[in-house]
């Protein structure tokens, strides 16, 4: 087994076996259960159509993935430092790039677990409609870079800041800042600033893409720009994380 895979196993194993990880998974399952009940109820009462319910479930799963990414990314370096496990890791022959790959590989596996958990819920709210398959594909296609990007972003802060608490707080504020215009309503989004913000905001790009594909049934080719925004977000944060790791001091 290569050392990088060992780190991935450890990171993802922590999510499944540690007390903290089990709390996360239980919380995610409870949120998805409650939300899907709500959506199914609204669909039955004809308050929402099926596509809207699927779209909302996709947004919720992406947001939960981002939350998990922020939590894991914030812990990736500052948490190791606080636990006293950073130096033992750094004195192994692993390069900092390998440690970063292992950490992000662990996050990718954790996101995969959330994604798999979300599939039955997506089916529950969207099985009677036509857009379940595009929803499953687009959640993977755009959700994955957004989630990993937030993981990298939190890891940058984790490497630069002294404590998990400060890295987590800053990452959460960023996540809320990027997600808030979507939650606050369409008024802000229709303004010029809102439109520009929407255009460069990776979280908004993913959700707008979900909206276009699942609700408006637009063809995949129309989503190239949004996909590019999301991929640029991923590349920039990955580059930043690599730099932060390389200049990491014990």
């Amino acid at each position: 087994m290569t050392p990088v895979i060992s780190i991935i196993n450890k990171e993802s194993g922590e999510l499944v076996r540690s007390g903290r990880g089990l709390v996360w998974l239980t919380a995610i399952a409870l949120v998805l259960s409650g939300f899907s009940l709500l959506l199914v109820g609204n669909t039955e009462l004809s308050l929402l159509d099926n596509a809207q319910a699927v779209y909302m479930m996709m947004g919720t799963v992406t947001a939960l993935g981002c939350l998990l990414a922020v939590a894991l990314g914030s812990d990736a370096v500052a948490g190791e430092r606080e636990r006293g496990t950073l130096i033992p890791l750094l004195v192994t022959p692993l390069s900092k790039d390998m440690i970063l790959t292992g950490k992000m590989g662990g996050l990718a596996v954790s996101w995969l677990i959330i994604y798999l958990i979300s599939l039955p819920y997506l089916w529950a709210v969207g099985s009677s409609g036509q857009n379940l398959l595009p929803a499953v594909i687009y959640l993977a296609l755009l959700g994955t870079p957004v989630v990993l990007g937030f993981g990298f972003y939190a890891l940058i802060l984790s490497a630069r800041m002294a404590s998990v608490r400060s890295a987590l707080a800053t990452s959460l504020i960023t996540l809320i800042f990027l997600g808030a215009p979507l939650v606050l309503g369409p008024g802000l989004r229709q303004s010029q600033i809102g439109k520009i913000f929407d255009m460069v905001n990776p979280f908004a790009a993913a959700l707008n893409s979900f909206d276009s594909v699942v609700i408006d049934s637009q063809p995949p080719g129309d989503q190239a720009f949004r996909l590019a925004i999301v991929l640029i977000w991923l590349i920039l944060t990955a580059w930043g994380a690599r730099r932060a790791m390389r200049s990491l001091q014990p």
């Binding site: 087994m1 076996r17 540690s18 636990r83 130096i87 033992p88 004195v91 001091q249 014990p250």
Partner: protein, 311 residues
């Protein structure tokens, strides 16, 4: 030479941490790195373990520059950092197997069990490390440092948190590793008893500089060219004492006298000469400075007639 550090300098955030550190350790030695809190011991270890890069000076660990070849150095290095932590949700055997994988080593359950037994831990203990005592974690840290069968062990306060019996067991383990497997051991400690029992060579760092380095035996003698003896006599000596050439009276209080003999003199002949001149000698003991005396003198910046920096 296993470790060679010459005039190493290190700044962190623009503040000079190490200004002139020298450390020279031969193969098979146990080296004690001493110094007050904040003197720069851990920073020195961070240079040796490639955790930080020096601003100047020369550095070689097992023949390699850790800045240039960190992978090669780290592969042959075992490190126990001060206050080193663990993943509390893992069991010890599981953790050691995982840590060995980071070195690209596949370990069997039997090998991990042997390692745990060597450091005095129960190989069948499946409890999560999070519930372990500090002393048990310290032993596990030592097992972790040994997982890659290192040629050089770098230990920061290895006996911290251990009871006297545990400390003795760790001493025995380190001596065994050093004598039977030739593992070089460099360790930082505040416990001078550890150094006295284990170290063949010491270095003292104060305010980012090496203020003293040398063989433990030589440093605890007052002068490498002479040997001091404390003589007890039956009756006080009256009048002026005539001493043979090469013999000096250092101190004389009551019935106790400290004499310094040049190393070329045969002590037995000197004692006979003294007895012939009226000394009623009842006891002769070799007088050595304690390591604590050496340490305090070095840190206070006092001059040493035996202490030296031999680069």
């Amino acid at each position: 030479m296993l470790i060679s550090v010459t005039n190493a300098r290190l700044s962190i955030g623009g503040s000079p941490i190490l200004e002139e550190v020298n450390l020279h350790m031969d193969e098979g030695e146990i080296y004690g790195l001493l110094g007050p809190n904040g003197a720069g011991k851990s920073s020195t270890l961070s240079l040796l373990t490639a955790l930080r890069q020096r601003d100047g000076g020369e550095l070689s660990v097992m023949g390699y520059d850790p800045t240039v070849e960190p992978g090669i150095v780290k592969r042959r290095l075992g490190v126990l950092a001060e206050n080193a932590g663990f993943y509390g949700w893992m069991s010890a055997p599981e953790y050691l197997r995982w840590f060995a994988e980071l070195y690209g080593r596949e370990t069997t359950r039997h090998e991990v069990g042997d390692l745990l037994i060597r450091v005095g831990l129960d190989p069948d203990n499946a409890a999560p490390i999070g519930v372990w005592s500090r002393g048990m974690k310290q032993r596990l840290g030592l097992a972790r440092a040994l997982v890659n069968e290192p040629a050089l062990l770098i230990l920061d306060e290895p006996t911290n948190g251990l009871d006297p019996q545990g400390r003795r067991e760790i001493h025995d383990l380190l001596l065994d590793l050093n004598r039977r497997q030739g593992v070089g051991i460099l360790f930082c400690t505040h416990i001078l008893d550890d150094v006295t029992r284990l170290c063949s060579r010491i270095g003292i760092i104060h305010q980012g500089r090496t203020v003293l380095e040398g063989e433990t035996g030589a440093l605890t003698c007052t002068n490498p060219n002479e040997t001091r003896y404390r003589l007890s006599v039956a009756t006080p000596l009256a009048g002026k004492m005539l001493l043979p050439d090469g013999m000096t009276l250092i101190e004389g209080v009551g019935l106790s006298y400290v004499l310094a003999l040049k190393n070329h003199l045969a002590p037995e002949i000197c004692w006979r000469m003294l007895m012939a001149s009226g000394w009623e000698i009842v006891e002769i003991r070799r007088e050595e400075r304690s390591l604590e005396d050496v340490y305090i003198a070095a840190v206070k910046g006092e001059s040493h007639d035996s202490g030296h920096i031999d680069n």
